[in-house]
Symmetry: C2
Subunit: 346 residues, 2 copies
């Protein structure tokens, strides 16, 4: 068989500060080919990438490898990796058979790839025939983040008040809905009027655009808050500390405001409230819960998605060449739903 | 009967910043008298104060009442209040009988007082015949703080490493011992060579004087830490975040470094580690646990004290006139054990 194009989305340059630039910090490269029939598998399997997930945490991996963090830095010159869905094209491995669909993290942004290591990959059965893209969003890492964080750390009681930041995002929009299902008052912050309208559709009691309305004034008027779902960190975290109730729970899911340091990093001033208000705080990383919670998550959430109880928004683009811009959109506020790049339907 | 002196320890002036000054911010006043036989009880009870506890949190109550915090501000011109032991001299109340000993918080720093409200006061039976002062220290609020915080929030496992600040203090010294009883490695920070020697006697594996040795270097060499028992806040909290392990537990018990702001309050820089390391943090205030935990606490700890397993140090002075200096000593680093002022033996 003649060689097939095997395009890649490559980490090309470490961003010094500010936003990442498509074509500079990450680039689409279509120069590589692969012989699908004859590429040696060496006991492994050949995967055709069907869909790839773009997530905010990726920005944190685009750093100098000498800076330690919870995920290793991406190596320069190599494809970005992340969550994805693939189809097994050929296999010499016992775990994955030709025709299987697999889900997992560490999938390279590459049209085809060969591997023998099954770590963090698992066969996915789509028993309710939901679109594959849902397995990267509402049924993927963002969905599981909302599910696990809310279940394990919110200790939510009906009538309490929760403040959700980036409330129109892949995680935040689900947190808003979980809170409403449980009878809480939801204060939802997002960065555009369209997003505000979306969070209101999801049931948020107080939906506001933090770019045009003061978060401080909203919290002063609508608080105090019992639960803070933090996707931003920085100054908003300080405000949440100021306007939280005694025994509030803080779920630290993301600190987007720390990912694009345009100068001095923010320094927190209200941390003495941790004691004064006996606050409980949990740093949340979904991979810690994958093994223990994935079965319950798939069962609970795929039912809620199928029956239409949980609403979700996806920003799907087609072709790996759209990946650099899709990645960039996560940090400039232009995305409006779970970012997925679809490479092929099957 | 002729009038009896009824001296008081009065909150006289709000300290603007820095240390409190005996005779200025709090004063001893012996001008008042009381007629013990004839003072009307109006259905209440007359208490003779036997012993009073001086604790670091009191500094936080000596503030402008417009500043909100977990405990109300002390009213100016009134006696300081706090934990104490008293004896019922006369009673018209069903709950307390003449001759009962009572323990509780909200006791005025006054030799005699009349009250009808029993809130936060309870009869104490000293069944193992321990000194009354122990009921304000190892068996009082500091002991219960260590007991409850360690039991509920440490999630300690043998072989883990805990970092304890103000480790020679009333709470810290007990945390050091609880950790050693459970097989942890203990890093103990305190502010004088005598205190370092004391924490070493208690079993601390690494005991250092933070005034002469760099906390950062100690944590770099002896960490990472799995549990941080925070009595100081500020810059040390930042260092604990930097040198903590994944899934570390932070028990926020005190932020002494925030109580004496000598200029700009400290601002925390390493709070993004809460996510990166999936840290769990709990603000701890012992009164939240009094009702649910006091029976188990008295049972467990009075046994450990009686059999000599738990060591403790008391700084006992006699006479209410020693209270202003005793209070001051809690914030200038000069105290070396639980501060108790004994007014009378019985």
């Amino acid at each position: 068989m003649s060689p097939t194009r095997n395009a890649r989305h490559i980490f090309n340059e470490i961003p010094k500060a500010g936003l990442i630039e498509p074509g500079k910090h990450t680039v689409y490269d279509a120069s590589q080919t692969i012989d699908l029939d004859n590429v040696p598998l060496n006991g492994g399997f050949l995967v055709k990438t069907l869909a790839l997930s773009l997530d905010p945490y990726m920005r944190g991996r685009m750093r100098d490898p000498s800076v330690k963090s919870y995920s290793p830095a991406y190596p320069l010159g190599q494809p970005i990796t992340g969550y994805g869905i693939g189809k097994i094209v050929r296999s010499e491995h016992d775990t994955f058979k030709t025709g299987d669909y697999i889900y997992g993290v560490g999938m390279p942004h590459e049209e085809y790839w060969v591997r023998a290591d099954t770590t963090l990959l698992s066969v996915v059965k789509n028993e309710l025939n939901l679109p594959w893209s849902t397995y990267l969003g509402v049924l993927g890492m963002p969905g599981m983040t909302a599910y696990v964080g809310w279940k394990e750390y919110s200790n939510a009681k009906p009538g309490e008040t929760v403040f959700v930041t980036t409330a129109a995002g892949a995680v935040g929009s689900l947190v808003v809905q979980l809170a409403k299902l449980q009878g809480l008052k939801v204060i939802a912050s997002s960065g555009s009027n369209d997003k505000v309208a979306f969070t209101r559709e999801l049931g948020a009691d107080v939906a506001f655009n933090y770019k045009t309305e003061s978060t401080k004034e909203v919290l002063e008027r609508e608080g105090p808050i019992d639960i803070y779902w933090d996707n931003v960190g920085g100054e908003v975290l300080d405000l949440a500390l100021e306007y939280s109730n005694v025994h509030a729970r803080f779920i630290e899911c993301g600190m987007a405001s720390a990912y694009n340091p345009s100068g001095e990093p923010y320094r927190l001033k209200n941390f003495t409230h941790f004691i004064a208000k006996r606050i409980t705080l949990h740093g949340l990383l979904v991979i810690d819960f994958f093994a223990t919670h994935k079965d319950a998550f798939y069962a609970d959430f795929s039912k809620l998605v199928k029956e239409g109880t949980l609403k979700y928004k996806e920003d799907v683009t087609r072709g790996l060449e759209t990946a650099p811009q899709a990645l960039r959109s996560l940090s400039d506020g232009s995305n409006t739903g779970k970012r997925v790049v679809v490479l092929a339907d099957d």
